[in-house]
Amino acid sequence: MHPDTDSLFETLQQWRAAGKAAALATVVSTWGSSPRPEGSHLAVDEAGHFVGSVSGGCIEGAVIEAAAQVMASGRPRLLEFGVSDEQAWHVGLACGGRVQVFVEPVE
């Protein structure tokens, strides 16, 4: 197990064992020059601490914000980001790609 890339699930377990709410974000679709491949994870705790990455850094802030809502509601959300995306979660990827990110609560 690699200490940096594989410790995300251990970190999630530690957060939950300490009674902290947590959410797990996963890249589930990419188009164009997305910086992180499908399957890339970002884990977030209730205080906004995070490990992992779902982009080169351009959408992390929005994903962390959505993760807080997912923790509060207990229901997963599917987010989409891209240069041409005019929806509520529009942030714009500097790289010009588009990504879909699934955010789920961690029991």
Partner: protein, 235 residues
């Protein structure tokens, strides 16, 4: 994600076992799939199960094409063992190589029964073992995500490691040493009955970058290991 799923994924990563998590994006319902079992609230068709299992080997994550798009869309996340580099010989190059391989995403273990070499002072933060190479490799396992790098220059350490690695599934075997040293090594390994396999050993070790310092040689080794790791995918 349910607590049991979280625990199983963490456990599989620790034990270097492959696992696929299939998630229905509409509601987050999940199941975990390995070669023998399927477990969780989400049920899959036979076709979907076969497709999910095909990802166990490749390690690629993807939406299942055998599921409908939209509400029934299923995403399969493959968790496979991370690449690992086992270094025999806690020598000077190993000090640099262990750090570089770690930075490149490899789990690193340095093996040397000589305690003065494999000391935490010389290898801060690096996983060390003072077992003999054959014991260490037997315990750690030689799977197809593992690279074996023999650096000790000492046949008592390097040879037993190579004898175990040659017939194993490791994706890379490299050994440090001059051409003359390597010729002698090949003679010993042929005498041990491994003549058909010795061609697997990369020696001189590393891509030919022309560098000479320990750090430069370490870059050449990491680069060669990465190249060999992806050669299969390039076809």
């Amino acid at each position: 994600m349910k607590r049991e799923a979280l625990a199983r994924i963490a456990d599989a990563q620790r034990g270097r076992r492959a696992l696929v998590a299939v998630t229905r994006l509409a509601d987050g319902a999940q199941c975990l799939v390995d070669a023998d079992t399927i477990d969780g609230e989400l049920s899959l068709s036979a076709e979907q199960l076969t497709e999910a299992r095909s990802l166990l080997g490749s390690g690629r994550s993807a939406s299942l094409s055998s599921a409908l798009p939209g509400a029934e869309r299923l995403f399969a996340r493959a968790y496979v063992p991370s690449p690992r580099m086992l270094i025999v010989g806690a020598v000077h190059i190993a000090q640099v190589l262990s750090k570089m391989a770690d930075a490149a995403g490899f789990e690193v273990v340095v093996i040397d029964p000589r305690g003065a070499f494999a000391s935490p002072e010389r290898f801060p933060g690096v996983q060390l073992t003072d077992e003999w190479p054959d014991e260490a490799l037997g315990r750690l396992g030689l799977d197809d995500a593992t690279a074996l790098v023999a650096l000790s220059h000492d046949p008592k350490l390097d040879d037993p490691a190579l004898e175990l690695a040659l017939p194993s599934k490791v994706f890379y075997i490299g050994a440090l040493g001059s051409r003359r040293t390597h010729e002698k090594r090949l003679e010993r390994l042929r005498a041990a009955g491994l003549g058909e396999l010795v061609g697997r050993i990369h020696s001189p070790i590393g891509l030919d970058l022309g560098g000479r310092s320990p750090a430069e040689i370490a870059v050449a080794i990491v680069a060669e290991v990465i190249q060999v790791r992806y050669q299969g995918e390039r076809g």
